[in-house]
């Protein structure tokens, strides 16, 4: 079984639109949305939810005012300034470390588990999909990413499908690290802007750090041909395959507004042809 993660470093380079286009080109796969913090793939895939589960992770301290003697030990120990002078825990600040719970001499602090979001197994017109929704302001996005990836893998095994296509989060931090560890390959979708290139280089370093083979494609390449060339040069120097270049095309937005992939919106766009070529190169490279 192979698992491809689409990432970008910088947000808004076109990860999800390209991922949706891949979903319509690939056969025998499970789709997975690992951008649990701002998941958008479902807006095009229109999943029919077959199973819904709560995601529980981490705990938050709650002081029982009736048992609290205001001795102040918790205030001294808490490194997050999460406990007010009248001994109430601010759940936004609480890290869930449980130090106050452990040391409270009155055992006055509860430590209930948090429900931080939910995850789903769904059917779409392009095959099964595992996705999730992290609650607003919640922690543990990395753990939820790990969970959806594991469930996608189980589903692929159960249905005898050989490929998992995963839409990853932006950045290089916790959720991205959780997304790419142990994957067969990552595809970095970048754009020829100073920020796109800067962020692509950081996420390429991250992939190298975790020893996950990286490939790139350049979206909106005609916006700045000099930078496109710079990105290609960088990729070549680092031994990263550039699978192709997609011209700037508002068709991505128009298709998104209709809840469609760009192929459903228009079968003959230039951007669509470029994506088909990228998919073809990717399938060869990954031996799909």
């Amino acid at each position: 079984m192979k698992e491809l993660i689409v990432i970008s470093g910088k947000g808004g380079t076109g990860k999800t639109s390209i991922m949706a286009a891949f979903a319509s080109l690939a056969e025998d796969k499970v789709l997975c949305d690992a951008d649990v913090d701002a998941a958008d793939l479902h807006l095009i895939m229109a999943p029919l939810v077959r199973m819904r589960r709560d995601f529980q992770s981490g705990n938050t301290a709650v002081i029982d005012q009736n048992q609290c003697t205001e001795c102040g030990q918790c205030l001294d120990l808490c490194r997050w300034n999460a406990i007010s002078n009248d001994f109430e825990v601010n759940p936004i600040e609480c890290e869930g470390c449980g130090v106050c719970v452990y040391f409270c001499p009155e055992k006055a602090i509860d430590f209930p588990e948090n429900t931080c979001g939910e995850w789903f197994v769904s059917d779409t017109r392009f095959g099964p999909m595992v996705h999730a929704r992290l609650g607003i302001a919640e922690q543990n996005s990395g753990k939820l990413v790990t969970l959806v990836r594991r469930e996608a893998s189980k589903l692929a095994e159960a249905k005898n499908l050989d490929l998992i296509l995963t839409d990853g989060p932006p950045g290089v931090g916790c959720p991205v690290i959780a997304s790419i560890g142990g994957a067969s390959a990552v595809l970095i979708v970048t754009e020829p802007t100073v920020s796109g290139k800067h962020d692509m280089e950081r996420v390429a370093q991250l992939s190298a750090h975790f020893k996950v083979p990286a490939m790139i494609c350049i979206n909106k390449f005609d916006l700045n041909l000099d930078l496109t060339q710079d990105i290609e040069n960088y990729a070549e120097k680092k031994g990263i395959t550039c699978l192709g270049k997609i011209p700037f095309d508002p068709i991505f937005t128009w298709a998104m507004v209709q809840g469609q992939t760009i192929f459903e919106y228009n079968t003959a766009s230039k951007a669509g042809r470029a994506i088909k070529e990228i998919w073809h190169n990717l399938a060869n490279k990954m031996e799909l």
Partner: protein, 278 residues
Amino acid sequence: MIISIASGKGGTGKTTVATNLALSLGAAVQLLDCDVEEPNAHLFIHPVFDQTKTVTAPVPEIDMNKCTLCGKCGEICQFKAIVVVGQTVLPFEELCHSCGGCMAVCPEDAITEKSRELGVIQKGYRNGIEFIHGKLRVGEAMSPPLIKKVLAYTDPAKFTIVDAPPGTSCPVIESMKKANFVLLVTEPTPFGLYDLKLAVGAAKILNIPCGLVINRSDLGDDNVKAYADRENLPVLMEIPFDRQIAETYSRGEMIVEVMPEWKEKFLKLYEKVKHLVT
């Protein structure tokens, strides 16, 4: 006054708005780039950096001469960052949240703290603007402690603009929670709207007033505006799609410098925000 520029969805133009707003206002402005995973504002501001500081987090160090392998450290740790295995104690630094629990609980005082590098903070200037950003070390998972350290540079005597990371989880909350106003940069597309709703939810949880900037405002549909009307969210600025703006951005140049007519618009945006805050 602190305003935090956020979006939910990435790539909607947070950094464009933050940097052009800062440059339009000039001196007495502080720009803090809290998107420490992928900081970009410096690519447009081009500050001259005069300070670089390594930021660390405390992690446990065990003196095995004192340790009796009682296992209390592993018991208190909620993050599985320290365990007793056989005749030794293994700390997993990358999982450690630096709560100090293991050190507090150790009956033998065998645990002290050492520093683990999270990234760097750089400080510099451009046209009188004070610029500070954090850069997470590649391979490091935990951004909130670094964001906290960047925000510690907030100067109450100045107008502080915070460039927040995308999303709505802990790093975004960290970047928003001290703000007097959250400026949400969005685009009129289904992805833009869906993620905008999450970001508005985050501002509501924190009880901070917010307003919108709609970028590429003519490339999409009318649903963001309808939502803003419904929710009583003021639309403070609209930036239509313009290939010249996109190309200016791509080169790391400032819109207010290449297309000076935009300076007036960013100043107006500032006036509107100021009016809403006071």
